[in-house]
């Protein structure tokens, strides 16, 4: 076991050593820090301090790190194995006593750690957000952890695809497409499918027709006949599961749960999670809005009662662990498949590839 781990360690050290030698890597980190700084300043200026600035600042930065992480990680991981094959360094490591699993895992860990470096350099800004107050420790821990796992998933998909596909450029592009499918594709499917399978809804409205003051001073209320209107509503409640696979939703849903005294979100996690959770609630297809009966029975007219964000959030089920599990399975299968494809002696070779 220790020798298996030390083999992974050798590959990890080798990969990291090659990366830190490139100037490009530091330029990238510098640009990243500058962007996070810019976002922090913009959020700072656009938010009112009394709103509980910390929560929005923290969650905003973390979403931004996820965005940049998903943009950078495919490029850093998507050619890990086939790039080595192109450079002629894969076969020379394969004839050593290093096992294929160690090679793939070492490369995965290197890609993951590289992606985590982006989280690391944004820590000062996250720290600043925390110091602004209003960010509970639980939110910090959960969100950072989930973000780290998400970056790992993308690194795993990238390294996996680089072992499955022959051409480095192609595997990088497919990694980007996979990330895009999860981040944007799920949104598109959710929206289009919801609209395409809309239902016909009926709403009945009963209004007050007459309001007379009787001789005894009591009001006599005459209700109008029920007015029925029909319209179509999109059925997002069938498809909310699709959004569970969205990495931004996973992060938001996992870290959400902070609301103010009015039941409104105090960070972007909750603000993102609530509309997604809302989609779980089926629309009322036969609603009756009776503005009259209550009045007639001596009450006051009932206004429409919209639930608060907190109520929506608390009445629905969390989905983040399902999404996260799907992602982890996806990443792990990519790594396993890559290991199987890279194993030597090779039975079959990808078309047009040279093993050396």
């Amino acid at each position: 076991m220790t020798s298996y781990l030390s083999g992974i360690g050798i590959v990890l050290a080798l990969e990291l050593r090659q990366r830190v030698r490139g100037v490009g890597w530091y330029v990238l980190l510098g640009v990243f820090v500058a962007l996070v700084a810019l976002i922090t300043v913009l959020l700072w200026l656009s938010l009112d301090v009394s709103d509980g600035l910390g929560g929005f600042l923290f969650s905003g930065i973390l979403f931004f790190v996820l965005l940049l992480g998903t943009l950078v990680t495919p490029a850093l991981s998507g050619n890990a194995i086939n790039g080595d094959r192109d450079a002629g360094t894969l076969a020379t490591t394969q004839v050593t006593l290093l096992r294929t699993g160690q090679l793939v895992l070492g490369k995965f860990l290197a890609a993951w750690l590289t992606a985590l470096a982006f989280l690391l350099v944004s820590l000062p800004f996250l720290g600043f957000a925390v110091l602004s107050g209003g960010v509970p420790a639980g939110t910090i821990a959960v969100s950072v952890l989930v973000l780290a796992v998400e970056l790992g998933v993308i690194a795993a998909i990238g390294v996996g695809l680089s072992g499955i596909l022959t051409r480095p450029l192609f595997s990088i592009v497919v990694t980007y497409l996979t990330v895009a499918a999860l981040s944007i594709g799920t949104l598109i499917v959710f929206t289009l499918a919801g609209v395409a399978t809309s239902s016909e809804a009926r709403s009945t409205t009963i209004d007050v027709q007459f309001l007379e003051e009787g001789p005894d001073g009591a009001d006599t209320v005459t209700c109008s006949p029920p007015q029925v209107t029909t319209y179509t509503v999109p059925r997002f409640d069938y498809y909310w599961g699709v959004l569970a696979a969205n990495p931004y939703v996973v992060l938001a849903d996992a870290a959400a749960g902070q609301f103010d005294s009015r039941g409104e979100p105090v960070d972007l996690f909750s603000a993102t999670a609530v509309p997604v959770r809302q989609a779980q609630i089926a629309p009322d297809l036969d609603a009756t809005f009776d503005y009259c009966s209550d009045l007639r029975d001596g009450g006051t007219p009932a206004g429409e009662q919209f639930p608060t964000s907190r109520e929506v959030f608390e009445s629905t089920v969390p989905t983040w662990f399902v999404g996260l599990a799907i992602h982890v399975v996806l990443g792990a299968s990519a790594l396993l498949w890559a290991t199987a494809r890279t194993r030597t002696p090779a039975a079959r070779l990808p078309r047009g590839s040279r093993i050396a």
Partner: protein, 358 residues
């Protein structure tokens, strides 16, 4: 199946290949190869481009699974016991890949670590190898700055990191300057003397000629049998003759034992070594005089050819050559050089190749 369970290095565990084939979708790269490479020997693997040399080496190096046949490298099966084979086999690929940004020394250290050498041992071994292949001065340079020949030497050092008992070298001499080639030859000879099995593929046949103790010919993915090699030897082979000044042309002497044959001398193609020519006029005169002398000792005219480097004469075998040389010297011809135009391996290679075309 000799040496199956022997763990030690060296003796008795060479390379054994029986009836191995391998195809890539439509292309049958290796059809049927059978060969043996003995410990303590340097075996040359010779064949034209696309004859399956590299594919065969990849199978020996545990990277490629054969479709059929049976392989043992250092006493183990590369398919079923790749780990056992890898621990005993060093492979130098024909593609010169190296971790471009890493220094030369670190490359060897990391390779050593991949062979499970402890850190200190890997460092020590890297120093030894740097010294062995003459890269000590470049030890701290990133490998991307190395020249082709230097990369070649690094690649060789990498193959030797774990002190393997079997060495597979794919075109090790390409890109090396003459001095480095001599170094390589001396090194490989030393490694073989230590009891290792060395299998070398190369196009530089003259190079192999000087060190190989055995040869395996591949043609169209098939290893050429000993009978076919023997059969290819029946023709005449060109020998290059040079004389300082031909002796006086006398009357045609008695038969010299040179077998009369109508065969033309083998096609010389390009000669192996460049001769230093005198003034063109005198050289031509010398060549013409030498040709006369050859005819005078009974060599049929059709077996004498001249090219830009001088004169070639077709002889049947070593005895035939010795008789011809004796005859020339006896006649008083001042022979300065009398040698096969091509090395043994090159000649066999050409003979086999010519046999294919007819």
């Amino acid at each position: 199946m000799r040496g199956c369970d022997r763990k030690g290095r060296g003796v008795g565990e060479g390379i054994e290949v029986v009836g191995v084939s391998r195809s890539f979708s439509a292309v049958q790269a290796v059809r049927s190869v059978t060969l043996t490479a003995e410990p303590g020997s340097i075996t040359a693997l010779i064949g034209p481009n696309g004859s399956g040399k590299t594919t065969l080496l990849l199978m020996l190096a545990t990277l490629l699974r054969p479709d059929a046949g049976h392989i043992r490298v250092a006493g183990h099966d590369p398919v079923r016991q790749p780990g056992e084979v890898r621990a005993r086999m060093g492979w130098m690929p024909d593609i010169l890949g190296s971790w471009a940004s890493l220094p030369v020394r670190a490359t060897l250290e990391i390779t050593g670590r991949m062979y499970r050498l402890p850190r200190a041992a890997a460092r020590r071994r890297a120093e030894e190898l740097l010294d062995l292949v003459g890269l000590t001065e470049l030890a701290t340079q990133p490998t991307r700055v190395l020249s082709r020949g230097q990369k070649q030497r690094l690649s060789l050092a990498r193959a030797l990191v774990h002190d393997p008992s079997v060495l597979l070298l794919d075109e090790p001499a390409s890109g090396l300057d003459p001095a480095a080639r001599v170094d390589l030859r001396v090194l490989l000879q030393r490694l073989a003397q230590e009891g290792r099995t060395v299998l070398v593929s190369s196009h530089v046949l003259a190079e192999l000629d000087e060190m190989a103790t055995a040869a395996v010919y591949l043609d169209g993915g098939v290893s050429v049998s000993a009978e076919r090699i023997a059969a290819s030897r029946v023709g005449l082979r060109p020998w290059r003759v040079r004389a300082v000044a031909a002796g006086p042309v006398g009357p045609v002497g008695p038969g010299t034992g040179v077998a009369g044959s109508a065969d033309a001398p083998g096609s010389p193609g390009s000669a192996g070594s460049a001769g230093s020519a005198d003034a063109p006029g005198s050289a031509e005169r010398d060549t013409a005089a030498l040709a006369d002398a050859l005819r005078a000792v009974g060599v049929p005219a059709e077996r004498i050819r001249t090219d830009h480097l001088g004169l070639l004469v077709g002889v049947r075998d070593e005895a035939d050559a010795a008789a011809l040389l004796t005859a020339l010297v006896t006649r008083g011809v001042a022979v300065s050089s009398f040698a096969p135009a091509f090395g043994e391996l090159e000649q066999t290679f050409l003979d086999l190749h010519r046999g294919d075309r007819t």
